[in-house]
Symmetry: C2
Subunit: 159 residues, 2 copies
DNA sequence: TATTGTTATACTCTATAACTATA
DNA sequence: TATAGTTATAGAGTATAACAATA
């Protein structure tokens, strides 16, 4: 009657997610963890975490921005951003210059080294994206990206 | 020429996300944070975090499961799950009984109080889902849920 | 040897509060 | 008074390693 085999198979069987299957947050969280783990693994040679990478990209796209503006755009608390930038400044990748028009603000720029480091990081990030695309399938990834942008717009526009 | 107004508007303008717009992980992370914040806010009366809630749901759907099985299903490290369950056991919501067939395992069950607490929590979680649906739009939410489940299956099936 | 569960440690991220200096 | 930036602290989540008990 294959009882032993059946028992073993049962032991390996996936558990029922139950009511969790109805929760968007559960699937979003699992996907986010998977993506970040792979990103962190791929970017490990640059010792760059996702938040640090996102800050570099925003400074690149918006040179001279204040810490407050970067923090608002990325949803990073100013206290945390201050320490994060301190680290990037120590690596000589980011420069904080005092803003002439507002003595409280720092204007942020990438240094030459920062530009080079970001270029290397982008190549690793592209490998990460390629691997995720391979796992998810190109159509699935594209559809997800589209939907998530829409969701982001709807969640942030009223604010 | 409206120069002052233009300057003010520019100061309030959203920054360019730059290359970040190409990264699935960025949008997934932002959505996950938004959803979890609302969940935590709504479930605050139960002092229940997302991970704790997911564990309760899995025990409900799979009574008698071991900690190892629950941890594998949810991707929670056994070390963390041990402390998480210790807390739920202290509240008298979860019971850990020794498994007769395997002396190493604990079989997990909801207590009567646990069942009641979970029922109350589900009502709050439903309010959270309703609010998120309101923000995202029902069609967007349904499409997202569908896509995220597909993504989850593709990411977990090879493992 | 491998697995289950526990304890402990360290690091990241998040959330506050308190403080300064500027506006 | 409000904002920009800094520092400090505490809590949650994650990743390890080490250990005892059991398989």
């Amino acid at each position: 009657m294959y009882e032993p085999a059946t028992t073993e198979a049962f032991a390996e069987e996936r558990l029922d997610l139950g009511h969790l299957k109805q929760h968007l947050g559960y699937f979003v969280r699992r996907l986010q963890i998977t993506i970040f783990k792979d990103f962190i693994r791929e970017l490990a040679p640059m010792r760059l975490r996702p938040a640090q990478y996102s800050v570099l990209l925003l400074i690149e796209a918006n040179p001279g921005s204040s810490q407050a503006a970067i923090g608002r755009a990325l949803g990073i608390e100013r206290a945390r951003l201050a320490r994060l930038l301190h680290d990037l400044e120590e690596r000589l990748w980011v420069e904080r210059r005092s803003d002439s028009s507002d003595g409280r603000s720092h204007a942020l720029f990438l240094s030459r080294e920062g530009v080079k480091a970001l270029a290397r990081s982008k190549k690793l990030a592209a490998r990460h994206e390629a691997y995720m695309t391979e796992l998810l399938g190109g159509e699935c990834r594209t559809a997800l990206l589209q939907l998530l942008r829409t969701a982001g717009n709807r969640l942030n526009s009223p604010a």
